[in-house]
């Protein structure tokens, strides 16, 4: 829906009546030429911006195949022959492989947890009357407004006291907790839009509330769950501040963004620029590939929160 243009959205706009007065036809022609100029202008600006976005990313990719000396002395040139060793260095020596797997583990569990717990809370808040309902909802929603950086110090000590600092499960729990506000906010309004009759029928037939939720409501809420799921996957995959503070310990537990930041500092000393660009590409390509395949869903998922 988001990728539709106005024209596509309403194919059935009424046809123009024939036999319009002469004055209107000249106006029509004038507007037509205005349209052509605007059209040419549009494409020029749009192409320039597309190049400004696309070329830096392509540059990083093709630089990852060049030798470090080549990257510096001829920053613009295409690779003369392909240095795949940059990639293997980045993957094994710079540990990007390890960080990649850690990130998949963390994001996999935390997105699943966020969607499960977020939907459960949202369903209860959307569909059941009980004392404190409104207060709990407002508590979650207020969490969207305040900056995470504000609580860094106490969060550091809370996780230390719980013994979950510098561990992947700890990071997963923190990601879930900080993804809940938006997930609960969005899923609550989503559950409110779903019809109540199906769930009521299931209850009358003797299904428990829990069973009704998992077998009736979750499948009905699938579009919303997918949108917000994508939103959470990307947000958590790209998280930098939380792991920087809560996962500073053992490098074998780092996630991609930490590894990349470290790689940028290290290569500054070692001069292995090819390795840095290979590392950038390793972090960049999977996300871009997934995005290109699911671009409609991703665009819809990321803009869903801002539209309603």
């Amino acid at each position: 829906m988001t990728t539709d243009t106005i024209e596509d959205a309403t194919p059935g706009s009424p046809p123009r009546k024939s036999g319009t007065p002469a004055s209107d036809t000249t106006g029509w022609k004038w507007r037509r030429s205005e349209g052509l100029v605007l059209n040419a202008f549009s494409h020029v600006f749009l192409v320039v911006w597309a190049l400004m976005v696309g070329l830096p990313l392509l540059w990083a990719l093709w630089s990852s195949f060049k030798s470090s000396g080549d990257i510096l002395s001829h920053p613009l040139s295409l690779p003369t022959h392909f240095h795949f060793d940059n990639w293997s260095h980045a993957w094994s020596k710079a540990n990007m492989g390890r960080y990649f797997i850690n990130t998949i583990i963390v994001v996999g569990f935390s997105t699943f947890g966020t969607m499960l717990f977020g939907s459960m809370a949202a369903y209860v808040l959307a569909r059941f009357e009980f004392p404190g309902n409104r207060l709990i909802y407002l508590c979650f929603v207020a969490g969207m407004a305040f900056p995470v950086v504000m609580v860094l110090v106490p969060l550091f000590f809370v996780t230390t006291n719980l013994g979950i600092i510098n561990t992947l499960p700890g990071l997963i729990l923190v990601y879930i907790a900080y993804s809940l506000p938006f997930t609960v906010f969005f899923m609550t309004s989503f559950f409110r839009t779903l019809p109540t009759s199906v769930a009521e029928a299931a209850l009358v037939d003797g299904a428990s509330h829990t069973r009704t939720f998992f077998q009736i409501m979750v499948p009905m809420a699938k579009p919303g769950i997918i949108s917000i799921g994508i939103f959470n996957v990307l947000g958590q995959w790209n998280q930098y501040l939380l792991p920087l503070v809560l996962n500073q310990g053992d490098t074998s537990k780092w996630v991609l963004t930490q590894g990349l930041a470290d790689l940028a500092v290290q290569q500054g000393y070692q001069g292995d620029w090819g390795g840095l660009f290979a590392g950038l590409s390793i972090a960049m390509l999977p996300v871009l590939a997934v995005y290109i395949v699911f671009q409609r869903q991703v665009q819809a998922g990321l803009t869903a929160g801002a539209l309603k």
Partner: protein, 306 residues
């Protein structure tokens, strides 16, 4: 049945509420408490010292400078990003060649443009910041941007190393990273405006720019206001951009330092002054709330339902 209902509610809320309470609400409350103490990493005990930390912040020149940088980001980055986003969204959706009877037409290939524009949105800020750090390489013969500029006869700059340019360089990257999101968002908003409204304005003799400023923009006001809040939050943060791109964490000469980075350095580097850092957190919260309240106040207007 009634009993079952409450058991169900408690069962479903227990885990989410426990996680949220322990990891979000409790740190939030503790932040106020810690901000009133002299706690540092060097002493195991903390003593309540009232508002001493806040007094220190008010007299700290570096804090005000960092806050000023946040305010600059807050004023410039959202305006430029949203303006470019609206501009490109307009080009995509209304800039097309009119086909037959359609009153407005999307440009050819608008889906493709949107895919590319949206790229930075799916990338980590870490990737974006490090990539641009390389593009801004200050060496006149080795940096990509410098080599490109030399091609058109402009002398090399030190970019992030130049105290006057560094913050602007970071702002440019923030704009670059976020424009695509707003193009897609505003396009979706424009697509939801009924064509009859455009047709009416075209029949009344309005040209495209009038249509844009008098019809499209007012109808998109809500979406733009939401976008403003989003961009404001990004600008208030800016931690990852500055920490990864700037020389010496906020340099040169603290000319790019922002409050979140100052807080991070105060807490986890400079003698672990936890109390002082917590007070900065509270100050940030106040600034954010003022910003959000102002935006919502200014954006309040009558909704047009369609």
């Amino acid at each position: 049945m009634r009993h079952g209902k409450y058991r169900f509610i408690i069962g479903f809320l227990a885990i989410p509420l426990a996680l949220y309470g322990v990891l979000v609400i409790s740190p939030f409350v503790q932040d106020f408490q810690i901000s009133l103490t002299d706690w540092t990493g060097l002493t195991p005990d903390k003593h309540y010292i009232g508002f001493e930390n806040y007094r220190k912040i008010i007299h700290n020149h570096l804090f005000w400078q960092s806050l000023w940088h946040n305010v600059l980001l807050l004023l410039i980055v959202p305006v430029v990003t949203l303006a470019l986003g609206l501009f490109f969204a307009f080009m995509l959706n209304v800039g097309g060649r009119r086909k037959g009877s359609a009153s407005v037409a999307g440009v050819w290939g608008s889906g493709g443009y949107k895919i590319i524009f949206f790229f930075p949105q799916v990338l980590s800020v870490a990737v974006i910041a490090i990539l641009w750090q390389q593009i801004y390489n200050p060496d006149p013969d080795e940096g990509l941007l410098n080599v490109l500029l030399k091609g058109v006869g402009i002398g090399g700059q030190t970019w992030l190393g130049d105290p006057k340019l560094a913050l602007a360089c970071i702002m440019a990257v923030m704009v670059w990273a976020n424009v695509g999101f707003y193009v897609v968002l505003f396009s979706a908003g424009m697509a939801s405006i009924p064509t009859e409204i455009y047709e009416a304005s075209l029949l009344d003799g309005a040209n495209r720019s009038t249509t844009f400023f008098r019809v499209t923009l007012p109808l998109l006001a809500d979406t733009v206001a939401t976008g403003w809040v989003y961009m404001g939050i990004i600008a208030m943060d800016a931690f990852a951009y500055v920490q990864l791109m700037s020389v010496n964490d906020g340099g040169p000469n603290e000319k790019t330092d922002v409050v979140p980075l100052l807080l991070f350095k105060t807490a986890f580097r400079d003698n672990s002054q936890y109390g002082l850092a917590a007070a900065m957190g509270v100050a940030m919260l106040i600034v954010t709330l003022v910003f959000a309240a102002l935006t919502l106040r200014l954006a309040r207007r009558d909704r047009l339902e369609f």
